[in-house]
């Protein structure tokens, strides 16, 4: 048996982005011992990429805002297949989570009277996003990191989990390896929190980093947990499209929040052409009103550029497909035009969107204060994930919790911008709290050496002499196929081809070869990531086939309309006894009458 080092904690948290850090802090505050496992170095997780802000109805900028409006906006954005209990908890608790960050040292942009400033964002009725320029995610992760390192949490950096370990039905810890020396680590724990983020590396054009390979989704699935809503993959409407090497890098929605407009190659503001009925009442019908909204006029309605991401992305795809796109296959996003409206436009853009200014200047030779950007949709966020209890965040496996992007429920069929950072904090805290409680109330676990042996042996298979395939090629082929066949516009026959293609790629992945040795070897890592990527890709394709309608982020060319019958279900996948993927429908419980009232009241 290969050697391994043993670490024992009451709670281990897998993933050290916003949700993982917040969970670890909360669990530690409850007095249990906590281990925090980071795939990369601490503070580098994908949360740093979040730009626009975190949504919380603190009503500093518009006093009409409150949790009810936020709840209603979230449900509407998610096309009512959200877990309404989570949407309620989120809207109620987000304000405290934001204030808490300030108490831990975060320095948000300020209102003239010295409070936390809030900005406009798609699908939010009032300016609601607490922010720091366009680097809010960095502020959040650094605040949690700098606070967290003084809370007695044991941090394991550059450690990758390869399997969850179980003691009977209950989770008992995880098998992992540390990158530098390639040594295996067994983490024995009474409770495990998954906070591993998303799955964006399953697609070719993506705003996600190499880490986003669906690890938590896949670990939980193979341990017997249920995944839900996997068909709902968010394609952010605005990623960079040119030059080719930067394709997919995110352009924050904050650009539109600050007054940026979308135009086609005829110079038309095409977003005015198609405003969904659900949003007609709330949306400006002329450019002047839209501009006033972005400048804080409370009597104005929001411009159509700030409709939900699923809709904006689809409108952009329509323009490109019908020949009205920009030279490099996108559309134009123009913030420079605001110089017609305000004298300080250049300084204002640099102050409110500094990262965007530098990103375009350095990577595309574009000065966004003077010329428009070219943008197009990019894979951004996974609404689907591990099924959890709304209050405790515990999955269907006792002792296994999940929070943040790898969990499911809050966002329904489409996430509103800004609801992710608040999700991480609200449910990260809850997961940490209830994992600590579970660990305190339940006895110890034992580690089954046979599971450790089997998983260790499996993890070392890529070094087998008989293997021949380059793991990077398999990954690239998967990304290409998912982009083409299960991307932003879907139809049944292509997705069936994708399922068959994934079957072939599973076979190839069994031959994926890692050259060299176990020490700091990205080739080995890429070979091991394939199982996770293939698992989530299959779940996405099979769930998307099951949902025969267009709703939120799922757009089906063969079923272009919403089907009210399908609003009653979530699609769930689970590993069957024979190892195959089982797809089923789960009825959404009736919404609590008082919440239903709120939705009606908000129109």
């Amino acid at each position: 048996m290969p050697e391994h080092d043993l670490f024992e904690h009451d709670v281990i948290v897998i993933g050290a982005g916003g949700a993982g850090l917040r969970a670890a802090i909360e669990a530690s505050a409850a007095g249990v011992s906590v281990g925090l496992i980071c795939k990369s170095l601490l503070g580098k997780a994908h949360t740093v990429m979040a730009e626009g802000g975190m949504a919380a109805a603190i009503a500093n900028v518009d006093e009409r805002d409150n949790w009810k409006v936020h709840f209603s906006d979230t449900m509407r954005g998610g096309q009512y297949v959200n877990n309404w209990k989570m949407a309620e908890l989120h809207a109620k608790e987000a304000p405290d989570r934001v204030r808490e960050l300030e108490a831990w040292g975060a320095v948000f942009d300020r209102t003239p009277d010295g409070k936390i400033l809030q900005r406009n964002f798609g699908g939010h009725k009032y300016p609601r996003l607490a922010h720091v320029g366009d680097r809010t995610g960095l502020e959040m992760i650094r605040t949690l990191q700098d606070y967290g390192i003084h809370q007695g949490i044991e941090v394991h950096m550059e450690v990758t989990v390869v399997a969850l370990l179980k003691d009977g039905d209950r989770v008992a810890g995880a098998l992992a390896y540390e990158r530098e020396k390639g040594r295996f680590r067994v983490f024995k724990a009474k409770a495990v929190v998954l906070a591993t983020g998303g799955v964006g590396r399953a697609f070719k054009i993506s705003s996600n980093s190499w880490e986003y390979t669906g690890d938590g989704h896949s670990l939980a699935y193979h341990a017997g947990a249920e995944l839900q809503d996997m068909e709902f993959v968010q394609f952010h409407p605005t990623g960079m499209v040119f030059p080719p090497s930067v394709r997919g890098i995110l352009v924050t929605e904050g650009v539109r929040g600050e007054g940026g407009i979308l135009k086609n190659n005829r110079g038309e503001r095409f977003m005015f052409d198609d405003i969904p009925d659900l949003y007609k009442e709330q949306t400006a019908d002329n450019p002047e009103e839209g501009w006033r909204y972005t400048q804080g006029d409370k009597s104005a309605r929001r411009p159509p550029e700030l409709l939900t991401r699923d809709h904006v992305a689809r409108c952009i795809v329509r323009e490109i497909r019908e020949g009205r796109g920009s030279p490099n296959g996108g559309v134009f996003l123009d913030i420079a035009w605001i110089k017609e409206k305000r004298g300080d436009a250049e300084a204002h853009i640099k102050k409110k969107l500094p990262s965007m200014y530098h990103q375009f200047k350095q990577l595309a030779d574009i000065d966004i204060t003077k010329e428009p950007m070219e943008v197009g949709p990019t894979t951004h966020y996974m609404m689907g994930g591990i099924r959890v209890d709304a209050e405790t965040q515990m999955s269907t496996i006792p002792g296994l919790f999940a929070a943040g992007e790898c969990a499911v429920g809050l966002h329904g069929a489409n996430r509103l911008g800004g609801n992710s950072l608040s999700d991480l904090l609200v449910f990260g805290k809850r997961a940490g709290e209830f994992a600590a409680k579970f660990a305190s109330e339940n006895g110890g676990v034992s580690i089954d050496e046979a599971q450790v042996d089997e998983q260790t042996r499996k993890a070392l298979l890529p070094f087998d002499e008989s293997r021949t395939e380059n793991p990077y090629e398999i990954q690239a082929d998967l990304q290409e196929m998912m982009q083409d066949k299960v991307g932003i516009v879907r139809k049944e026959e292509e997705m069936l081809e994708a399922v068959a293609g994934i079957g072939e790629l599973w076979k190839r992945s069994a031959k994926a070869k890692a050259p060299g040795n176990v020490e700091y070897n990205p080739g080995w890592h890429t070979a091991l990531d394939l199982e996770n990527l293939l698992t989530v890709s299959e779940a996405i394709a099979r769930s998307a086939i099951e949902r025969k309608e267009s709703r939120g982020a799922q757009f089906r060319e063969d079923y272009p309309e919403k089907n009210p019958e399908l609003a009653k279900f979530n699609v769930v996948v689970k590993k069957a006894e024979d190892g195959s993927m089982e797809v089923s429908r789960s009825t959404i419980p009736d919404i609590a009458p008082e919440l239903s009232e709120i939705i009606k009241e908000m129109g």
């Binding site: 300030e102 995610g137 606070y147 890098i249 990077y472 060299g516 990205p522």
Partner: protein
């Protein structure tokens, strides 16, 4: 298809050599694109760190043609392409393998700096009031992505190896962000003088020059901290008054 040559440092624990690779290049490519392409096509086990590929996480720090850079923000068209582009790990930290270095020292240093300690909230709902003007300078410091390029280029660390005595520009910026935070109540000046040895910095401004976030490290963070330390401990008038007060 155009190609370009790259000399990547390959090796372990400081023992190694430059290995030359040729790879195809397309418009707009950055050094990280080329390195990842070489990794995917020719050298699957090439060790390097990266995450966001957008200059926001500070993972892909390296020395490109001898200059400390983020690989993801260094465009090939900014480099002379008639000779191979050299890429090597940061030299101020121990080598692990290929382009990856052991930066754990930085994490240890941060833990030793006194954490944020806010004053009592200003309002009954537990919130504070700060004006934008007062947080501007702290926000500049908080842009730091912890790429550690400033540490890499700091001669106190790189040439004199004084990691035991000196915390380096990154953590002087961190300390400045805490000291100048409008809500913070702690005092780190004595630590800065005695433990961090801020006096070892002789303001060559190399750190400012390499900062990918354009933080004016020396002028806005280090010099004001030095002035505060001097005011606190070396101001003759103040010392005299203190003497007087003690009596």
């Amino acid at each position: 298809m155009k190609t370009a040559r790259f000399k990547l440092w390959r090796g372990e624990r400081g023992e190694g050599e430059f290995v030359e690779y040729e790879t195809k290049i397309t418009e707009g490519m950055v050094v990280l694109d080329a390195v990842l392409q070489i990794q995917a096509e020719q050298a699957n086990d090439l060790a390097c760190r990266w995450n966001c590929k957008a200059g926001k996480c500070g993972s892909c720090s390296a020395e490109v043609n001898g200059m400390p850079k983020l690989m993801c923000m260094t465009r090939l068209n900014s480099l002379p392409m008639d000779k191979p582009v050299t890429v090597e790990p940061m030299r101020a930290f121990p080598s692990i393998r290929d382009l990856a270095t052991d930066v754990s020292w930085n994490y240890g240093v941060k833990e030793k700096i006194r954490p944020f300690a806010p004053r009592e909230p200003d309002a009954e709902d537990g919130t504070w009031r700060m004006s934008q003007k007062d947080v501007d300078r702290v926000q500049e410091f908080r842009k730091c992505i912890e790429c550690f390029l400033c540490q890499d280029v700091c001669h106190v660390l790189r040439d004199h190896h004084m990691h035991e005595d000196f915390i380096g520009p990154r953590f002087l910026v961190y300390a400045a962000a805490l000291e100048m935070h409008p809500l913070d109540t702690d005092d780190r000046l004595k630590d800065l003088k005695d433990d961090s040895n801020i006096g070892l910095c002789n303001i060559t401004k190399c750190c400012t020059k390499v900062c990918p976030e354009h933080i004016t490290i020396t002028d806005n963070a280090i010099i004001p901290l030095k002035e505060r330390v001097v005011d606190e401990f070396y101001d003759p008038v103040k010392r005299f008054l203190k003497l007087f007060r003690r009596k």
